[in-house]
Symmetry: D2
Subunit: 386 residues, 4 copies
Amino acid sequence: MSSKRKIAVVITARPSYSRVKTVLTAIKEHPELELQLIVAASALLDRYGSAVNYIEKDGFEIAAKVFNVLEGENLTAAAKTTGIGILELSTVFDNLKPDIVVTVADRFETMATAIAASYMNIPLAHIQGGEVTGNIDEKVRHAITKLSDYHFVSSENAKNRVIQLGENPEMVFNTGCPSIDIAKQVSKNDRLTFNPYEKYGGVGSKPNLDNGYIVVMQHPVTNEYQNSRKHIEATLRAIQKINMPTLWFWPNVDAGADGTSTGIRSYREKYALENVHFFKNMEGDDFLNLLNCSICLIGNSSVGIRECSYLGVPAINIGTRQNRRDRGQNSSDVSYNEDEITNAVKNILVKTERPKSEVYGGGNAGKKIAELLQSLPLQFHKTITY
Amino acid sequence: MSSKRKIAVVITARPSYSRVKTVLTAIKEHPELELQLIVAASALLDRYGSAVNYIEKDGFEIAAKVFNVLEGENLTAAAKTTGIGILELSTVFDNLKPDIVVTVADRFETMATAIAASYMNIPLAHIQGGEVTGNIDEKVRHAITKLSDYHFVSSENAKNRVIQLGENPEMVFNTGCPSIDIAKQVSKNDRLTFNPYEKYGGVGSKPNLDNGYIVVMQHPVTNEYQNSRKHIEATLRAIQKINMPTLWFWPNVDAGADGTSTGIRSYREKYALENVHFFKNMEGDDFLNLLNCSICLIGNSSVGIRECSYLGVPAINIGTRQNRRDRGQNSSDVSYNEDEITNAVKNILVKTERPKSEVYGGGNAGKKIAELLQSLPLQFHKTITY
Amino acid sequence: MSSKRKIAVVITARPSYSRVKTVLTAIKEHPELELQLIVAASALLDRYGSAVNYIEKDGFEIAAKVFNVLEGENLTAAAKTTGIGILELSTVFDNLKPDIVVTVADRFETMATAIAASYMNIPLAHIQGGEVTGNIDEKVRHAITKLSDYHFVSSENAKNRVIQLGENPEMVFNTGCPSIDIAKQVSKNDRLTFNPYEKYGGVGSKPNLDNGYIVVMQHPVTNEYQNSRKHIEATLRAIQKINMPTLWFWPNVDAGADGTSTGIRSYREKYALENVHFFKNMEGDDFLNLLNCSICLIGNSSVGIRECSYLGVPAINIGTRQNRRDRGQNSSDVSYNEDEITNAVKNILVKTERPKSEVYGGGNAGKKIAELLQSLPLQFHKTITY
Amino acid sequence: MSSKRKIAVVITARPSYSRVKTVLTAIKEHPELELQLIVAASALLDRYGSAVNYIEKDGFEIAAKVFNVLEGENLTAAAKTTGIGILELSTVFDNLKPDIVVTVADRFETMATAIAASYMNIPLAHIQGGEVTGNIDEKVRHAITKLSDYHFVSSENAKNRVIQLGENPEMVFNTGCPSIDIAKQVSKNDRLTFNPYEKYGGVGSKPNLDNGYIVVMQHPVTNEYQNSRKHIEATLRAIQKINMPTLWFWPNVDAGADGTSTGIRSYREKYALENVHFFKNMEGDDFLNLLNCSICLIGNSSVGIRECSYLGVPAINIGTRQNRRDRGQNSSDVSYNEDEITNAVKNILVKTERPKSEVYGGGNAGKKIAELLQSLPLQFHKTITY
């Protein structure tokens, strides 16, 4: 009979997996912890990059798979996906009987993890609370903070914010962001360690990458659902105009994903886009290596302000998705506008320095978090501090 | 084609209905509002007092009924009830297309309303946020605050707390608690306006009420699930010992309800309890009239610190359920202990004054809330203020 | 690594458990089978007799518990309970990976078992198909036959009917009903082996049983939902009039259960019923011993025409619930009518013989079924024979 | 207050819509019927041809939309999709209160319609029961027959089979298949009435159609899940070898859809397929017009043995999906084999006659069915006839 603490981590999407991979490794390797890895939602689906394949390839054993994505092209489906998630995860928790449940970040369906765990009186740990963006994610993120018992945040600002939300300061820890752990390892390589076309396939042209390339990753923004297609088209036109070698990543699942995806597909049908290659997904390490060697990142992925700030890779951040998140000096903000995007690229091309920042941590978050999961008192009862 | 604002209010339990009845009336009577009343969860069930019957008798039209209580004697069922609630309510909102959704207080299943509305980009109003109790309700209550766009709170302390949670002060309104609206009307009568036995049936002895009587209402406390039965037995012994005419109300639904209910049933099988009559439920007005004429209330219902503070009815508050809630001078706190309860009753019997308080408002919350629902800008996008 | 066949049996109600207990034992004891016992729906609930407690007491290990009863007083809840059942059982089957799933009889929620298994390409065995009753159960029963791969029926008529439904005769086996296995053991005792009041508690008077007693068990009939209360009242009046010692069992869950239960409770509040004691439930062996020693059974339980026919216990069968089921000579049919019921009892009291019948088998069904589950070819593909 | 009979028809997929379109029209136009059209499952999804768009364009008002497709690449998702369907449809039926519910054919998710309606005591009509194919559809189809109260079948064989299943012959009607109604209209045109490329877009080459063309439509077969990809590749190779102008339609949703779709996509990435154009979907009339003018149909769609038999269009039927269905002389059966497919095409090219058949009806099924829906006695209680 093991007396190890059982730590259930729920992964619901490809980017969440990349983000917390070093946490998973640290839990797995900790002699007094047992990892119960639960893979759910879009992390299981081919259309969204099958994170599950990478997870298995990385050697993690999966304790349970939870299919809960209700297909539909509207916000109702997002709500229902969360409802189904609660139904399924509560069964999983009943079976696995974890000592602590860990939920990551702020995607809509992570609320299912938070509700199932807190309603079942299982201590809940939240990674990456306290940040600010200004969209639906923010409602979700701070609501999860109020349901959580332990907070592993990524920056000092985030820490202060969680405390100001009425959480017990003794349960709020600035561990840094675990995604920086991987960036730290990757930063040692300043050239591509693999051939992206060969290793990851994808579709479209195969521009030569030797003289630099741009990376694009742009997700739909939930509360601007109607505009997803218009937004992506501005970026597509800019990329076509800039006409430099470009590696483009498909968006992840969200209400609206189909707007963005449809926009890209239609544009491709109309225009050749001879400078662009499209990828569905990439292993985290390779993706960061790719970014580290790139001219810049364009889009609205948090990787631009997070890992790229540590790496010093310039990031052109489009629109509202990363609003008010902590930034290093690497990023510049533009609106959904073809010209602003092209001008931002021009500015980057003339710069010679790439300043780095540790605003999101120094690269040892995984181990810190595992240590805390082992040592923190088990508790699910709390009260607001004011 | 009506241009009235459609206001969907979701009622999930008998006490919530009593609490917001004047809000429902004020919305219904407002010339520029259309009430969409949704009755859900235990409010539909016979075992928990069939609030739905009172709602219909009070003349409210029901726009949709949502059955979502999953039967079970554990916390998993509470989680699943919430998941089913999301599935069902998102369909209802899709059909009714409300301009604003209103959710009440902090019962676990109200989270389903909050998630369905916020995920569907429907502006969400929350009545009774910002209070403190220190149990699972508190996680739920503050999480709902973070999902809500408008806050109609009941006291100055609550208002300050919601603002400190990072909500825009312009969207936080101390309207007072709508339950006080009814207390205000009822307070005009200092004698019973009806015969409880005749009007409400119930079971047990029928003690004479002419020389005063005690009212008991004690609910299970979710995170003390295992102890529900022990707790209720302390109260039962106290009541038996005090041996005054007593009117006892069955608890509402919660994980653990069966512990409390079973405790009461077993005790009744063993002992005669000749001074006690049991009711399943009572219309809000009658219940407040009954309290107003009583010697005191015993238990852990919020009515003790809320309506009773306005009415000046002494309340013996047992255990942790109302921890840290704002109080008037009417209430005294005891633990789950037979002797403490009996002593508290003795103290009340020797007092001559019944001081009143407006800590929970002055009795016009319903109209204030309806007015705000009509005039507030429609919005579902917000960001934390710090 | 075991090479035993894994046999998942889903039990959803108390009577189903009693019925197949010897099958469970035979599977458990079979050296080449592994029993995966799944307890679901009302079998888990206190209100319906907590079959789960007896199951555990009988020494069966439970592989999974599935809470899927949606509370409500209407037919919609029955449909939704089945929908939730599919969601939950498919997860359970995914985890347990049974080689064969076994479903029992014809209660509405057993359809969830049949759909989950057949849709997941797991061979499905059905116990007790091919019978006729003429209510909603019949739609369910024959639909399940069409979803099933193996048929273990209880009588020659049932066998012929399943074959006529287009099933491959080689997959249809008249094993007899496993409930008769227990009746066979019990039949050796012609006097009570236990004191029902002491062992099972219950409520009401405790009439002396030494000079004979009547047993009552009457369930609501789904497609006569509105009339449940009226129906039960006819029986209550008859029992009051007959005025012999009576042991009455509460009904199991169904849409309408509350009509029947409420009818009984109201009647008890009004009348003393000094000859009647009420039980919630009883272990199968004790119940059969009780029946075997009784004057007769009154109600609409299938035990009256099934086990009682083997035992020779007279059964007064009320209403439509057992319409067209195979019968021995022990049973007489009456409608929901006080006088018909009283007259039927009078007729029994003057008879001297209690003829027995093996129409439902000879008492070794459990072993036969286990043997077949081990030896039948695994297959989930079939086609109608005509 | 209307006294028209309310007829709810649930459409869950594009082919089902095409099949019963004339029934919908006939109900809509019938003066004593009110159509309540419910669109659900893959009929709402872009990936599966958005039948909903055609439905709206055809002028039908949609009473409710039900999103219930759970995304996943396994059979469990099919089971769960059905469970969610029951949850959602029971709410819809509760709201719409239809007098009769109509379900179509035998796709797995139609079981949700059948269960919700029959459990809620709503008379259930089934279109296209009694046929034989020999896969999971067959379990579903005959189980639905056993849950249904009225049977509108497409052929004499089907009628006899439903009666042999124990259904009351007075409730079994050979109306012919409503898909033939459209075929009848379309058969008047022996040349293309539209330009497929212009009207429906699609992807791939645009071969000249003037000298004849082949149509391909091949769906995954549920119980051969693992082989979907291998099967589709045989057809792809055959089409590449035949090298005639080909119009290929994407498959509909099923567990395994992704195997088939992935197979097609991969093949396209590797080979040019210059003779092939791919369509997602097409309006029913246009599709039949296209078939009527084609050399032949290849695949496993039921349209090959059904509409094509009336039209006299040669159909090469691959694999087991249409096993044992009634056929005219137009169809030939082959296995998943490149050579068999190519040879079958060669045989067709040398034939001069295209014999027609009325085995599936004479083209007036829609009106017959509407008439019956209006005149049949409302009933939901039935019993097996033997």
